[in-house]
């Protein structure tokens, strides 16, 4: 063991650890390895700091290699004790603690340091950089207090910091020295679109802003520009750029230019010292993106333990999401002699595409708003492909250019990519590797991520990887990710959105869309009803109903039919009715010429063929007989179905009818993630079919069995037994608590069946059965919400509320107009 040569790595970041991974992959036994890290933690994905700041990920989720990786590979990790000196003649490194460690090979992977602009006040408390987790913690601490944040630097890093701080509730101003945001990645037009979009999301962007001084007495208070403007600031984030961290190498006498100079095998001017990552200079180039670091790691490992392959330098592309906006750039887009621009703008969709062509080859591309074809352009750029034949169609993208306009099938598009086409820019994984990984048995997205790392970093190529899975596996690829975004308008999941609504106290749909950077101006027919529900559930007392975010049935309080008329179902508590109600229903059927009346599966009467203009009058007539809305149209409590129970039935054990009526009086009017059906059966013969309901009660001699999570429908599911209770009151209490748990935690449009299957019966039991205090709190929240929801919407409409929904704007009678 001990006679293995000792490899010391200075730097526990992405480049150093990736190079070590590459070495271990080639020969796990070659070296004894020690890694020195300045930060007191394991190796994590630095480019994912932005999602941590934005609250989209936790630190645990961005760890690349946990302590188990170091242990399993026999790597000694010295964290929090950085190397301060290299002695090349003695072949030792000295740490800050004074410890001296000898090496046989040394790898420098010190990355880069944030550049601090030398203005007065730069050292004030409250001025932070955005480079490591400590910086993120400082920003999060400041954001908790709210107030103003100033971000100096409108490049990628600065905009991500600004986005995160804005999401955390701060008023953000971005100061950018140049006239165009992200001018190294974007041209003027795309930069302007980005600026406009960020301003629309509430950020203040000042371009051409030259910082003169950071003001403050003991802590930062404002930033003053050279033109005299002062911007108040509770925190200042300095994100103007990074420079290679070369101090150690320079002090050790290694050749250093802009970075530590290395050859094609990442060897420095000392043959026993290698360097990799952002700290190096190769052929006069320094790199600040992830993909080149990984290419360097491969070349380094090949040179150190296998056949030297050499690092040819990297052509880089940038594909990223800034505040939910898609941006892509690659190559050279500065234009110049012999360059021709092909440009497409679509103002309505907010799309801007520019491809720069020189001598029939793509030399650069800038995409804004729609970056789906970024990899295709980049692939052709890297291979120097002649595009003369497809030039006319080039700007419309791959699907159009390579298959005729109609073929926009994304699977065909990935099928057409060459094997060396880059899929994952972060980890430098090409199509061939992904396909090999899938061929080797990785049949899910997660398996591909852990197998070849494609889409394991920033995730922007997830769609491509999924398409490759679909291409390779055909119908065998299930395609479903566990946790999808709510809809195409956002990258947030249902759970993220609900958490943000509570934590940021968002109370209106536009506020949610603003705070979470919705990518569409007013959502879509999928997210608006979901948001409306989440808001009314979170803020029962304050919620303002938005009829335009309701599906037609809930907006009209009736069920639309295929001919545009409506059906009307009055509530009959527990399925009981009487002559007065039946007479009123019969009168309505005749008076409004309803062509059909039907008994429903839920023991109610459904009146068909009512015109929207007649609905308020129909409801007024039904109200007059004491009937209210049956909510047969809603994602809501529908019906409580009962059997006749002990009052009449010779087998009945309890008063199931009476209990059903009580439960319906408690639960009616409640909006839910989806429709919700209840039944109470008086004995285990179960005539009310309680075991295919969302909540079912089966009465037995000794009490009440409570069942949950059943439904009929396409996927029939029998209920799970939640528990047995002994009194009617307990049955009611557990019912209320269960409904509230479902209301608060299920995703919109999840029935209880898939929800219970997802969270598990044990979880529901733990919340409802085992946690008595929690159950009581849920029940109390349900009853509180009900105090606002138990208002008959039919009576409101009959009294004239939202009358415009039922009336025509006007009527056109052609001959009357002509004659008049």
């Amino acid at each position: 063991m001990t006679d293995k040569p000792h490899l010391i790595v200075i730097g526990n970041g992405m480049a150093g650890c990736r190079a070590v991974e590459e070495i271990l992959a080639r020969d796990p036994a070659r070296y004894r390895i020690t890694i020195f890290g300045a930060e007191p933690r394991v190796n994590y994905n630095r480019i994912m700091l932005s999602p941590v700041l934005a609250g989209e990920k936790s630190f645990e989720e961005i760890v690349i290699n946990g302590q188990d990786w170091y242990d399993a590979n026999g790597i000694a990790l010295v964290s929090g004790d950085p190397v301060v000196a290299i002695d090349r003649s003695a072949k030792t490194v000295t740490a800050r603690s004074g410890n001296v460690t000898p090496y046989d090979k040394l790898m420098i992977a010190t990355g880069s340091d944030p550049f601090i602009i030398p203005v007065p006040g730069k050292d004030l408390p409250g001025v932070v950089t955005f480079r490591d987790l400590d910086d993120v913690d400082k920003m999060l601490t400041a954001a908790k207090l709210g107030g103003n944040a100033v971000v100096i630097g409108g490049g990628l890093l600065g905009l991500e910091a600004a986005h995160g701080l804005a999401l955390r509730g701060m008023q953000v101003t971005v100061l950018h020295l140049m006239p165009t945001l992200m001018e190294r990645q974007l041209d003027e037009a795309a930069g302007w679109l980005l600026k406009t979009a960020l301003e629309a999301r509430g950020q203040t962007i000042i371009t051409g802003a030259d910082t003169a001084e950071i003001l403050g007495n003991g802590k930062v208070e404002a930033v003053r520009l050279k033109d005299g403007r002062e911007i108040p600031a509770d925190i200042v984030v300095m994100a103007v750029g990074i420079r290679p961290s070369t101090g150690l190498a320079r002090d050790a006498g290694l050749a250093v230019g802009r970075g530590i100079q290395v050859d094609d095998h990442m060897v420095t001017s000392d043959p026993d010292i290698l360097a990799v990552g952002e700290c190096v200079e190769h052929n006069g180039m320094v790199y600040g993106l992830v993909a080149p670091l990984f290419e360097m790691g491969r070349a380094l490992a090949d040179g150190l333990v296998a056949q030297p392959t050499g690092y040819p330098g990297s052509v880089t592309s940038t594909k990223l999401k800034v505040a939910g906006l898609d941006v892509f750039s690659a190559g050279d887009f500065s234009g110049g002699e012999g360059c021709e621009d092909i440009v497409l703008r679509d103002a309505t969709r907010g799309v801007y595409k520019r491809v720069i062509v020189k001598e029939d080859k793509i030399v650069g591309a800038v995409l804004y708003g729609d970056t789906a074809d970024g990899n295709w352009y980049f692939d052709m750029l890297r291979r120097g492909e002649d595009i003369a034949d497809i030039r006319d169609a080039l700007i419309f993208g791959q699907a159009f250019a390579s298959g005729g306009g109609a073929s926009a099938n994304p699977i065909d598009a990935v099928a057409a990519l060459s094997d060396d086409a880059e899929i994952c820019g972060c980890n430098g994984v090409n199509k061939g590797k992904v396909m090999a990984c899938i061929g080797g048995g990785a049949h899910t997205l997660d398996a591909v991520r852990s197998g070849c790392k494609a889409s394991a970093s920033c995730g922007s190529c997830t769609g491509l990887v999924e398409n490759l899975l679909a291409l390779a596996l055909g119908d065998e690829f299930a395609g479903e990710r566990d946790n999808k975004p709510m809809c195409k308008c956002t990258s947030f999941t249902h759970e993220d959105v609900r958490a943000a609504i509570r934590e940021k106290a968002l109370k209106e749909i536009p506020a949610v869309m603003q705070a979470l950077s919705w990518s569409t101006p007013d959502g879509c027919s999928s997210c608006r009803p979901a948001l409306n529900y989440y808001l009314l559930c979170a803020w029962p007392a304050e919620h303002q109903e938005d009829p335009q975010s309701r599906f037609v049935n809930e907006r009209m309080h009736a069920n639309i039919q295929k001919d545009g008329t409506y059906s009307v179902v009055p509530r009959m508590w527990g399925g009981l009715t009487n002559p007065r109600e039946l007479r009123a229903i019969a009168d309505v059927v005749e008076k409004y010429h309803a062509p059909m009346v039907k008994v429903t599966g839920g023991q109610r009467l459904d009146i068909f063929g009512i015109r929207k203009e007649d609905l308020p009058a129909v409801w007024a007539d039904l109200n007059a007989a004491g009937m209210v809305s049956g909510h047969a149209y809603g994602k809501a409590l529908r019906t409580v179905k009962t059997c006749v129970g002990s009052e009449w039935c010779r087998f009945g054990t309890q008063d199931s009818t009476g209990l059903g009526v009580k439960i319906e009086h408690m639960t009616w009017g409640s909006w839910m993630p989806h429709k919700f059906k209840i039944a109470v059966s008086g004995c285990p013969r179960n005539c009310a079919e309680a075991t295919i309901k969302d909540f079912g009660v089966i009465c037995v001699d000794s009490g009440y069995e409570l069942h949950i999570g059943g439904n009929g429908g396409i996927h029939l599911r029998g209920t799970d037994l939640l528990c047995k209770v002994s009194t009617e009151q307990e049955a009611m209490d557990y019912c209320a608590a269960f409904i509230q748990l479902y209301r608060e935690e299920a995703r919109y449009l999840d029935r209880t069946a898939p929800w219970v299957e997802r969270v598990g019966l044990d979880y529901v039991k733990q919340r409802i059965v085992e946690d008595a205090a929690g159950r009581e709190a849920l029940r109390a929240r349900f009853l509180y919400a009900q105090s606002f929801l138990q208002v008959d919407p039919w009576a409101e409409r009959a009294a004239g509320k939202e009358a415009h929904l039922h009336q025509h704007l006007a009527e056109i009678r052609p001959f009357a107009v002509v004659g008049g």
Binding site: T348, T520, P521, D522, G523, C524, S525, R528, P529, P547, Q548, S549, F551, V552, R555, M556, I560, K562, G564, H804, Q807, H808, L809, A810, E811, I812, R813, P814, F815, V817, V818, G820
Partner: protein, 114 residues
Amino acid sequence: MPHTALWLDVGPVEQLPALGARTLPVQGGQEIAIFRTANGDVYALQNKCPHKQGPLSQGIVHDTTVTCPLHNWRISLISGQALGDDEGCVPTIPVKIDGGRILIGRKEALAGAA
């Protein structure tokens, strides 16, 4: 002369809810749906989805699109074209706002009317 007028006045614009629609029956012709988007633009389509004749006026309006209440087809308010993978088109009726009044194209509104 009224019968030569190119435009029909159908009412004040504030009678249209934002992100909503109102209907306009045409005697002997096709019912019209008049939509208002979030930023106040007004559009008019025949109130019939090209798919199964669903009443588009009852759909959810978002951006410059309405989603049909029957089967979720998305229809462009601007062109009347079905969006996404669906194919079909519903006739549009020109609209202009003048002095707070909604004016719709007379010829298109009466198209097909007896």
